[in-house]
């Protein structure tokens, strides 16, 4: 028995070694070089707010499969906490993370001002979906590595498809009084961006009217998923990916692409200037712009940032969805403003 396990183990190792050998043989020169340098660094850590824990683990696993010998560690938190940790590390001069992936775009200019970001244009840049390139930093201190949608979600056991809201102002209909769920812009980068978009499209009256419908206000945008599942609320301004993952398990949820535009959330990643493993960090950024990473993300209902990756079953491809997104400036300036106004209107 012992012998058999050992034999199996040995042959598995051999298979992996072989696979690795062929993989690096097929690599373009820049990639092989980066991989060699990364192997010397052995491991690296990414602070990420882009995914949930499972997805972050899946992406790391996919990375380690493609690049054996480089260990991928991740700390997954919300954007604010990730940023707080990074600041702590910087102040203590004890760098842990080599890559920083936040969902709050205002973090990047602040970090750049502190000299904390490394300028790096990925070799895989051309693989990025063209429509997403405009959202990426033109000077390459950060690069777009994740994209997802925020839209209207509902509980199918309480609301029929015909009755469900079709666009954002439909949420203001008095028939949804006490039945709407939203997140809080002070906790969630998604919600903050969404509030900026609504203010841009419909003015602040949108929230004054929404307040009359007495929405349930959670923290994270994902809290809306919990509220719909609990049947505490019927409709929500929620995230596409988490809602559909919960639906996949069999929960009675569905999403609606608003006719006036789903909110497109794009989130960048940066290699850090003081990265303990700069080469592994760069390799990870390249990986996030590769087919393997995109396929893992698509499985979790996020959008692919890489061209030519098919969307999951029962989902619309990005080209067919009307999306809207405030400009980077509007977001960076708008989020602090709308947080304050939101508190005035909703009292919290």
């Amino acid at each position: 028995m012992k012998l058999r396990i050992r034999t199996v183990f040995a042959s598995v190792c051999a298979a992996f070694g072989l696979a690795a050998g062929t993989a690096s043989a097929q690599m373009p020169e820049w990639e092989a070089k980066l991989y060699e340098a990364a192997k010397k660094e052995k491991e690296f850590t990414v602070y990420t707010a882009h995914y949930n824990t499972e997805e972050a683990a899946n992406i790391c696993a996919a990375f380690e499969k493609k690049y054996p010998g480089v260990k991928c560690n991740f700390v997954r938190t919300t954007a604010q906490v990730a940023f707080q940790r990074l600041n702590q590390d910087l102040q203590a001069k004890r760098p842990v993370a080599s890559v920083f992936s936040s969902t709050d775009v205002s973090h990047y200019p602040a970090l750049r001002k502190m000299g904390a970001l490394m300028q790096y244009k990925p070799n895989n840049w051309d693989k990025m979906v063209d429509s997403l390139k405009e959202y990426s930093d033109p000077e390459h201190y950060s690069v777009t590595t994740a994209a997802a949608l925020m839209l209207i979600t509902y509980n199918t056991s309480l609301v029929s498809e015909a009755d469900a809201p079709k666009n954002w102002p439909d949420l203001l209909d008095p028939k949804w009084k006490d039945k709407v769920s939203i997140g809080h812009p002070a906790f969630s980068g998604y919600v903050g961006t969404w509030v900026v978009l609504m203010r841009k499209l419909y003015g602040w009256e949108y929230f004054e009217k929404l307040e009359k419908n007495n929405p349930q206000i959670g923290r994270s945008v994902n809290d809306t998923v919990t509220m719909l599942n609990a049947k505490e609320r019927w409709v929500a301004a929620g995230p596409e990916a988490t809602t559909l993952m919960s639906r996949d398990k069999g929960n009675p949820l569905a999403v609606i692409y608003p006719t006036d535009g789903a909110l497109l959330m794009v989130s960048p990643s940066s290699v850090l200037a003081n990265a303990p493993s700069p080469n592994a960090g760069k390799l990870y950024i390249e990986f996030l712009l590769s087919k393997e990473a995109a396929e893992t993300q698509v499985k979790n209902h996020a959008l692919s940032v890489v061209k030519g990756v098919a969307v999951g079953p029962g989902k619309k491809p990005l080209e067919e969805i009307k999306v809207a997104r405030p400009t980077a400036d509007e977001i960076a300036k708008g989020i602090p403003e709308v947080k304050e106004k939101f508190r005035d209107t909703f009292g919290i």
Partner: protein, 581 residues
Amino acid sequence: MSTVNPPASAAGRPASLGERLRHIDRSYWVWLLAIAVLVVLVVNPLVRLLLVSFQDADGAFTLANYVSAYGRSRHIDALLNSLTLGLASATLCVIFGVPMAWALSRTDMPFKGLIWISILGTFIIPPYLGAVGWILLAGPNAGWLNRAFMALTGADSGPFNIYSMTGLVLVIACYSFPYVFVFTKSALDLVSSEMEDAANILGAGNLRTTFSITLPLALPAIIGAFILVFLEAIALFGSPALLALPGRFHVVTTQLWQFFEFPPRVGVASAYAMPLLGITILLFWLQRRIISRKGYVSLTGKGGERRPVALGKWRWPMLGFCLAVCTLSFFMPMVVIVQAATAKAWGRGFSLDNFTLENLYFTMFENNLTRDATINTFTYAGGASIIAIVLSLCIAYAVNRNLVGKRLGNTLSFLTMAPFVIPGIVLAIGFYAAYANPPFALYGTAWILVLAFATRFLPIAYTNSSAAIRSINPELEDAVRILGGSRFTAIWRVVMPLLKRSLAGAFILVFIPATRELSAAIFLYSIDTQVLSVLLFDKSDEGNFEMLASIGLILVFITVALILIGFRLMGRDFMLRRTSA
């Protein structure tokens, strides 16, 4: 009151320093060491906080932080809400906890074991997990209780709304009353029946005896526990974030969170946390006023048989009360959590085809993250408990036996209690500011978590140790010393054996909260030092309630198992013991 003064020189003349050092009780070095540790754990981080509250971004002196912290009515409202919350929760905790402690300690009520296990279970459930359970039970639209009410009465809406101050008070009381219960029970366990017999003989009935003899003897423990739960209630972050925000009101901790938004305003946060320290000082002053100049010594070494009070026909109503509290705090939320943990999709409710063990299996066996976090959680909690108990015991002994002088003693007890009122987030910042950099360079290591946990729960250990030591008559130790034994001998051979049960209780009281501690952990953990509470918190904003419930359930099971094993190893099931010590 018997006091042991440091030995003066024989002739009564003032002793020279060298002479005093030579004659000094060797145990003094232990107290000095304890004080030094206290400086590291409490004083240094607190001083840093105080300094930061008066500093601007460049480190220059400013009062602007205080202006920002108190310049808005919203911020003041949050402070007042926290006071209401603290007082109401602590009162409800006493209403829940004291009768149950009396029933389990002093009466012949049936099914004590069941009640004890339920209370233990309640204590282990992280409060925010319980809060999620309660959202499902008493959500205004779809809560099970509201739906049941509507089905029974035909009304359009149910009466319960968990998103309210009342709801928050109930949820916090449900998960804090075990403190009151354990403190009161361990005090009552020490009251001998002879004192009650004396009252009985003088004609008092059972009820009158209980209220005029038994409960007053436990008063220091009850007041100590009241203060603890008050402080716990105003320092919690998880439950208010889940319940107060949708209920449209703020408390201190949710308000503090906003000061940590980008760009984080640590100075303002520190300034905002200062009144909490003031409240702690006030409470301790009150406690001293109430219990000073009365004797609470109940463990004298002179006999002390303990017989249960026969409740007669009142046994069943008493059991009913205990079961009602446990139903609110444990059974009902556990049903919700177990359902979610074993559901393919918890939104579909109860049905056989929705049942799966996959979530639990995945959490336990396939997820390295959960496995490592589980090991870390219990190791750190154990380490923190031991540090907190040894330290608090030294200080409680030194203070109660007047070994360090009255003023220093008061300062020491205040410092030992102070960490509890500092919200975990703020304590973490203080710890970070004090120990992240060289020479300590603890950031990223397990030590910073262990020490932060030990500091955070030091007050619980201290309240418990102090109440326990206060109940031991110093004459017992004097006897040893008169017979020539040293103070160490007295402590080791007399005090420790008498304290064994209280210490085990104190260990559990520190260990359990340390396994579920969130607010400090979230700032101090690193990739190799993940703990379960942080994983749980991450799940709570991932909308993945099936996994959240699975991890919560595993945390509850492992903790119960560890504690039961601990009891076995202690040689007997001391919490259920009925007769004499």
